[in-house]
């Protein structure tokens, strides 16, 4: 196909006609929108299986309409904000959360550049020459979604959750960023499609195993999933930063959380698991690429759910200690060692 014809840096400056860009953005967005309920349902079903019960299976066939019912119900609840809240920020914060999650989803490459409609179309939202930086930029903005939401609610539990969330998100973003440095040293590009192509020989999760683990752990923290869910630790802080959120605004936090899980799985797939590449040198036709990517993503999503069903949550100080005293030095060392190896073997 085209893969071999295009050099590593060849796609960076490449772009499609504007109408294709808009169409593909809308299509990928629609996919994202539909994946979230699927993940929601899968999580509840799988948790049910882990917990020796069935999980939802009465609403629609096999419980398939359960997320639909949940979302419809949440959207038809009462609009509400507490007396002590800061109204504008209270409404803005969930929007920020969902916005950043959606924006980050644009980055995941679902396949190689294909010939559709007689023109070359990249199966991704955007392929930027600064891919990871774009990701971290929106990750940093997502922090506002949680912090502003918790702070503007004017409730003590929300506030404590927001404080924990703020500290945790920015702490782990550093480790997340540093874990990718090793990959970039090896791949020599910041384009995510470029990184996938660079994994033609070997998926990065083998040579960059340390980076892979650090990135995965940091991603759990960035998405506020167990065991790092202290921001909404229901045993301590009732519901954490979204204590005062109900109805659609709560739904948007819910939505953003699962979308973030998808984004993180996509990024891990792209950066460490070889994106759309198949193992053992199999080169399937181009239309298989998105299926490969989605399959790999579902493994990571399964991992997320599995860990949620297995481990308890860490304490706040343990989380911070892990982030700053373990992951950060380890990630830096990993970057350093990778740099040395790359230069020596060059």
């Amino acid at each position: 196909m085209i893969t071999s014809a295009l050099g590593i840096g060849a796609t960076v400056g490449y772009y499609e006609p504007w109408w294709i860009q808009i169409i593909k953005a809308i299509v990928i967005f629609a996919v994202a929108l539909n994946l979230v309920p699927v993940v929601l349902l899968i999580e509840r079903k799988l948790l049910g299986r882990f917990q020796i019960r069935y999980g939802p299976n009465r609403v629609g066939p096999y419980g398939a309409l359960q997320p639909l019912a949940d979302i419809l119900k949440l959207l038809t609840k009462e609009q509400f904000r507490p007396r002590t809240s800061v109204g504008f920020l209270f409404a803005l914060a969930p929007t920020i959360s969902i916005l950043t999650a959606v924006a980050a989803f644009a980055l995941i490459p679902f396949g190689n550049v294909q010939h559709i409609f007689g023109t070359r179309v990249g199966l991704y939202g955007v392929d930027l020459s600064i891919g990871p930086l774009y990701l971290f930029a929106f990750g940093a903005i997502a922090f506002y979604g949680i912090m502003l939401g918790g702070w503007s609610s004017g409730s003590k539990y929300s506030f404590l959750g927001a404080m924990r969330g703020a500290a945790q998100l920015i702490s782990y973003e550093v480790s997340q960023g540093l874990a990718l440095v090793g990959v970039i040293f090896t791949a020599q590009t910041l384009s995510l499609t470029g990184i996938v192509r660079a994994q033609g020989g070997m998926w990065y999760f083998i040579p960059q195993f340390v980076g892979f683990m650090i990135f995965l752990v940091a991603s759990f923290a960035e998405t506020n999933r167990t065991p790092f869910d202290v921001t909404e630790a229901d045993a301590e802080l009732v519901a954490g930063y979204n204590t005062e959120y109900g109805g659609g605004r709560f739904a948007s936090y819910y939505f953003a959380e699962y979308l973030n899980v998808l984004v993180v799985s996509g990024i891990v797939t792209t950066v460490f698991l070889g994106g759309w590449l198949m193992p053992f040198g199999i080169h399937p036709p181009g239309w298989v690429d998105p299926i490969v990517v989605l399959t790999k993503m579902s493994f990571i999503v399964f991992l997320f759910i599995w860990i949620r069903g297995t481990v308890p949550r860490l304490r706040y100080d343990q989380i911070m200690t892990l982030g700053w005293k373990v992951l950060l030095p380890l990630a830096t060392l990993n970057a350093l060692v990778t740099a040395v190896v790359v230069v020596v073997t060059h």
């Binding site: 869910d229 297995t310 308890p312 304490r315 706040y316």
Partner: protein, 423 residues
């Protein structure tokens, strides 16, 4: 108080500010200095997922660290002791069972024991063994729910369902022997209500086969998990001396290394017939509390096995017709039985005047029942010395200086049952 608006008035009169003010005054004392942060007074409860009911903890936080914790109770005060004064002796049993709603057999055991002491009734051996079996099953059931919810409080959601799976089996056994899952009213003054039904023994043995591997499974699920160990080890440790001065008994005291167990110290209901061990901890931290209770499950299984193996033949309730109902078949033939039945059901038995305090080892510690009789057929005073009520006072010693998350874990490992606390 009959209309909603009256309750509204009551709502506005809740004194929150007094406590908050008091704490904030103290907070100013802590102010100043380099590390000073704003103190935050936080209410955990009465409606809070981690307080096991309606316990209210007023917590003063400095950042994430608990500076002061004050338990406030009474939100499920039911007036059980007052209600008990209004009922005949044998009708009090279902009422006291609803105090500590996780260890209902213990409640009725303490009460029946107290009344039997007053009456000087001898309980047949078979009844004593049946009581032991049910008490220990109840202890396992109580510990299982503690384990499930306790681990839920530190964030692991799955073990909860596994624990309730086994608990359901125990409740099935209760249901088969007495007809109810909870609050079975199985223990009567003078013995137990009915002999165990046919097939119950086989079912019990099946359960006894299942339980130890299941407990192993919980052990693996929980204590083989590094995060759990990190969360529980060396947190909220209180030494035995402080616990004794606070009146703490039960697994909490044993976790601190004091092997005090009333089943060994002052055996009641034939506990001296059985061979079992008292698990003790070393430092008295949250992990020890966890480990002691988990080990008690195995010991309870051992006791039940011995009791069911050595279950003696004989009547299941005392033959003293002044206290226990006559068997059903006698009613058709014996006039005397009919009179006894009539007297017992309408008025109940009269108890010689006096006071008695009957302590037993419940799943949470010393459960003492104080009964005062004035010679009538209704008790003049029934008081339960509930272990949760006394143990809760140790929370301040456990929580101060700990992290908020550890305080939650400490509450979970303290295992307070609000029904017992507030009565």
């Amino acid at each position: 108080m009959s209309t909603t608006s009256d309750y509204r008035k009551g709502e506005d009169s809740i004194e929150l500010t007094s406590v908050a003010q008091q704490l904030s005054e103290q907070a100013e004392d802590w102010g100043g200095g380099r590390d000073s942060q704003e103190l935050l007074t936080l209410n955990l409860g009465p409606h809070h997922p981690a307080t096991h009911g309606v316990l209210r903890l007023v917590v003063t936080l400095q950042g994430e660290v608990v500076r002061e914790v004050k338990p406030i109770i009474g939100y499920v005060h039911t007036g059980i002791e007052k209600t008990a004064e209004d009922k005949a002796y044998w009708k009090v049993i279902p009422v006291v069972e609803r105090m500590d709603y996780l260890s209902y057999y213990f409640n009725s055991m303490a009460y029946c024991g107290a009344v039997e002491t007053l009456l000087e009734v001898d309980v047949p051996k078979r009844a004593q063994y049946l009581r032991v079996i049910h008490l220990e099953l109840n202890r396992i059931a109580s510990h299982l729910l503690w384990l499930g919810t306790g681990v839920l409080d530190i964030g692991a959601i799955t073990p909860f369902f596994y624990c309730l799976r086994e608990r359901d089996r125990i409740l099935d056994l209760f249901e088969q022997s007495s007809g109810q899952r909870m609050h079975t009213r199985y223990f009567q003054v003078g013995g137990v209500m009915e002999d165990i039904p046919r097939g119950w023994e086989a079912k019990l043995r099946e359960f006894l086969k299942v339980m130890p591997p299941a407990a192993d499974q919980y052990g693996k699920l929980v204590s083989a998990n590094e995060i759990v160990l990190q969360r529980l080890r060396n947190t909220c440790a209180v030494d035995a001396q402080t616990l004794l001065s606070l009146g703490v008994t039960g697994p909490l005291l044993r976790a601190a290394g004091t092997p005090w167990d009333l089943r060994k110290a002052t055996p009641y209901s034939s506990y001296d017939d059985f061979d079992f061990k008292i698990p003790v901890g070393t430092v008295g931290d949250n992990y020890d509390r966890f480990a002691v209770r988990l080990a008690e499950i195995y010991e309870s299984v051992k006791i039940i096995e011995q009791a069911i193996d050595g279950l003696p033949e004989g009547p299941h309730i005392t033959t003293d017709r002044k206290v226990a109902l006559p068997p059903r078949h006698e009613l058709a033939t014996s006039m005397e039985a009919l009179i006894h039945h009539f007297k017992l059901v309408t008025e109940g038995f009269r108890v010689p005047p006096g006071e008695v305090y009957f302590p037993i080892e419940s799943a949470r510690g010393e459960l003492g029942c104080f009964v005062r009789s004035d010679g009538s057929s209704k008790p003049a005073r029934v008081h339960m010395r509930d272990p949760s009520f006394v143990n809760l006072q140790a929370l301040e010693a456990m929580g101060e200086g700990a992290y908020l998350a550890d305080l939650i874990a400490a509450v979970a490992m303290l295992d307070p049952i609000l029904g017992g606390i507030d009565r």
